[in-house]
Subunit: 337 residues, 2 copies
DNA sequence: CTGAAAGCGCTTACAG
DNA sequence: CTGAAAGCGCTTACAG
C-alpha cells in the first residue's frame, strides 16, 4: 500500500494506523535502545510503516537536529577521469558506512558552493577543492556543521599547494635524469586554462627535483595543443640543448609526439617525452608515451577517520592526512623515453 | 558583525534587533509585494539582517513549503567529458535563472539516488539518466515534487532508447557510404563496460542507417582496447571484405589506428576508420582520426521551459523535447577515412 | 513500557 | 501598515 495520491505519509499516520503515539513510532523507527519498547508494539509499528510506505520527512528531521545527515564532498571541476571518479567513490563508501548520505558538488564558483551549503545544511563539508578563506568562513554560518579537507587559501586568486601534483613533476624529472638527461624542458599549455594550476604545481615539483639532483632548472615551454604549432617550435628547443621534455599531462605529450612524427623525428632519440596521468590514449601513440601518475587507492577508511576526528573536535593537519592517504607518484616506462 | 559563535542567527534575532515582528521580517526578506511595508521598516529590517549576517534556515523553509528550492539534475556516470560538463552548466544556468539551486547527482545506483532524493526533498528531479519504473515511482513519495527528463524504463535491466547516440552511428555510416564503402564493420569494446549501452545504441543507429541505404548490415566486431590484440584480428576482418570500420568511440578508433601502424597498414587505404565524440586526442593520431559527434548547444532555455511546463502540470514528451534541444550528429572528416 | 507537549525556524492566513 | 498565532513533521525531555 502506498501513499494516497497528493499527500505524503507522516509519522502521525503511522501512529494512528498502529494505535500508538508518535513518540513511540519515532523510538521504534530510530531504533532507540534507551527507550525499551515491547516487541509487539515494535512489530506493529514497523508493519504499519512498511504498509503505508512511510518515509521520514528529511526537512523536519534536519530542522529538529539542526543539520541534515548529509556530507557534501566538494571537488574541483578539473578533477575528472577515472581515477578521480574512483577516489570519490571510495570517499563516498567510507562516509556512507558512517550513516551519512554523500552529495558530490563540483565547485564552479564560490557563490554557487555557498548556495548549495545553504540549501543542503550539511553535517559536514569535505573540501577536495580549494576555497578562499572568505568563503571558508561563511560555510559554517550558512549551515555547515563541520568542515574538513583542504585548508582555506588567503584569497580567491591564490593558488593552493597541490603537493601531490608536485610529486608527479618530480617523478617525471627523476625518470629522465636516470636516463641521462641533464637539460630538461617542461611543457605547459599556452594561454589560460582550468588545468593551469595543476600544470604549474607539476612544474614546481619538477623544478624542485632538478635542484635536488643538481640539474639546471627546467626550461619552461608554453605550447598550444596543435601539432603544427608545436612542430614549428621543436627545432629551436632541441637546438637549445634540451634532450627531454615533460608534458604537464598526457594529452600534451601526445601532441608533442604527433608533432615529432610530422617532423620525421623519433622519440626518444631526437627528443625524449614523458607525459602525466597514464591516460589510456598514451598507449596508442607511436612510440607509446611514458607517463608519471598517482595510482588510486581505497581511501574509504581514511575519509571516515578524518570525518570522525573532525566531528570529535580534533585539530587535523590536512596536508599530513592527504599525504598518508595518497600513494607516491610512479612512472610507467614506455617507448618515448 | 557575524553570528555569535555556536549559535546561528534566526529570524527572531532579526525581528528583535530591528524591533518588528518576525512576520514583518519574513515579508521584507521575501519581498512580498502583497504585504505593503513602510520603506522605513523595510530598510531597518534589511540593515539588521545584513548586520547580523542572517541566513534563512533552509530546513525550516523546506518543512514549511513542503519541498526545498532545489532541482536535482541526475546524470549518468558515463556521461563525462567537456561536452557533458557544458550541457550540465547550461541546464544549471537555465534552472538557476528560475530561482532554484541546482544539485547534480551522478547516478551510480538507484538506491543511492533514492537516498539523495530523500535527504534533499527536491522541488524537481531532472533525469538525464535512465531510471527503472520501480525507482521512478518511488521518487515522489520520497519527496520529489516534480519529475522530468527521460521516461522510466520497464526494469533495471532494460536499456534505454538513446536515440541521440543512434544519430552518431548513423552519421558514421553515412560518411563511410559517401566515400564508397559498402561493407562496414562496427567495433565494440569487448567484455562488460559501463559504456556498452552507449556503444550499442550507436551500433543500432549504424544498423538502421545501413538498412536505409541498402547496405548490408554492419559486421559487429568485439575487440579489446589493446593494439596487439587488435592487430591480430585485423587481417581476418579485412579478408572478410570489410573496407571500413566505425569505432564506438574515439579511444577505440585510436587503438585501431595504432594496431594498423604496428601492421604497417595505412588508413584509409588498407582500412578506413571513423571514431566518435571528437576527442582532442583524435587529432594527435597519425593519420588523424575522422569522428562523428554531437556539438553542444546552449539549452538553458529549453531546460527552463521544460521545468516550467512540468510544474504547470503539462504532459510533456521527453523524447520530443530532447530531439529539439539536441543538434544532429555531424562528422569531422580527417585523414583516416 | 507509553504518551502529551514543547520546540526546531520558518511562512501565512487572519485579525487588528 | 503590523503582529500574534497556527502549523509544517519531526525528536526528546518529562511525566506517568
Amino acid at each position: 500500500m502506498a501513499a494516497r495520491a497528493g499527500k505524503r505519509i507522516t509519522i502521525s499516520d503511522v501512529a494512528r494506523h498502529s494505535g500508538v503515539s508518535i513518540a513511540t513510532v519515532s523510538y521504534v523507527l530510530n531504533d532507540r535502545q534507551d527507550k525499551s519498547t515491547s516487541p509487539a508494539t515494535r512489530a506493529r509499528v514497523l508493519a504499519s510503516a512498511a504498509d503505508l510506505g512511510y518515509v521520514p520527512n528529511a526537512a523536519a528531521v534536519a530542522l529538529r537536529r539542526g543539520h541534515s545527515k548529509v556530507v557534501l564532498v566538494v571537488v574541483d571541476p578539473t578533477y575528472t577521469g577515472e581515477v578521480s571518479a574512483r577516489t570519490i567513490e571510495y570517499i563516498t563508501n567510507g562516509v556512507t558506512n558512517l550513516g551519512y548520505t554523500v552529495l558530490v558538488h563540483s565547485k564552479t564558483s564560490e557563490a554557487q558552493l555557498c548556495d548549495v551549503v545553504r540549501v543542503v545544511q550539511p553535517f559536514a563539508v569535505f573540501l577536495l577543492a580549494f576555497v578562499s578563506a572568505d568563503a571558508h568562513a561563511r560555510l559554517k554560518p550558512l549551515g555547515a556543521r563541520h568542515i574538513l579537507g583542504l585548508d582555506p587559501l588567503p584569497d580567491t586568486e591564490a593558488e593552493g599547494d597541490r603537493f601531490w601534483e608536485q610529486g608527479i613533476g618530480a617523478a617525471q624529472v627523476r625518470h629522465l635524469e636516470e636516463r641521462g638527461h641533464r637539460r630538461i624542458g617542461y611543457v605547459l599549455l599556452e594561454g589560460p586554462s582550468p588545468r593551469l594550476p595543476v600544470a604549474r604545481s607539476r612544474l614546481a615539483g619538477a623544478v624542485a627535483e632538478c635542484a635536488r639532483r643538481g640539474l639546471e632548472t627546467p626550461v619552461v615551454l608554453n605550447l598550444p595543443l596543435r601539432r603544427d604549432a608545436i612542430a614549428r617550435e621543436l627545432p629551436a628547443i632541441r637546438d637549445s640543448g634540451v634532450t627531454a621534455v615533460c608534458a604537464h599531462e598526457d594529452r600534451m605529450g601526445l601532441a608533442i609526439l604527433a608533432a615529432m612524427t610530422d617532423l620525421g623525428w623519433s622519440a626518444p632519440v631526437d627528443l625524449a617525452v614523458i607525459g602525466a596521468d597514464n591516460s589510456p590514449e598514451s598507449l596508442f601513440a607511436t612510440p607509446q608515451l611514458s607517463t608519471a601518475w598517482i595510482p588510486d587507492t581505497d581511501n574509504a577508511d581514511h575519509a571516515a577517520q578524518w570525518l570522525d576526528a573532525v566531528v570529535a573536535g580534533e585539530q587535523v593537519d590536512a596536508a599530513a592526512r592527504l599525504r598518508s592517504a595518497l600513494p607516491p607518484a610512479q612512472v610507467t616506462h614506455r617507448q618515448s623515453t
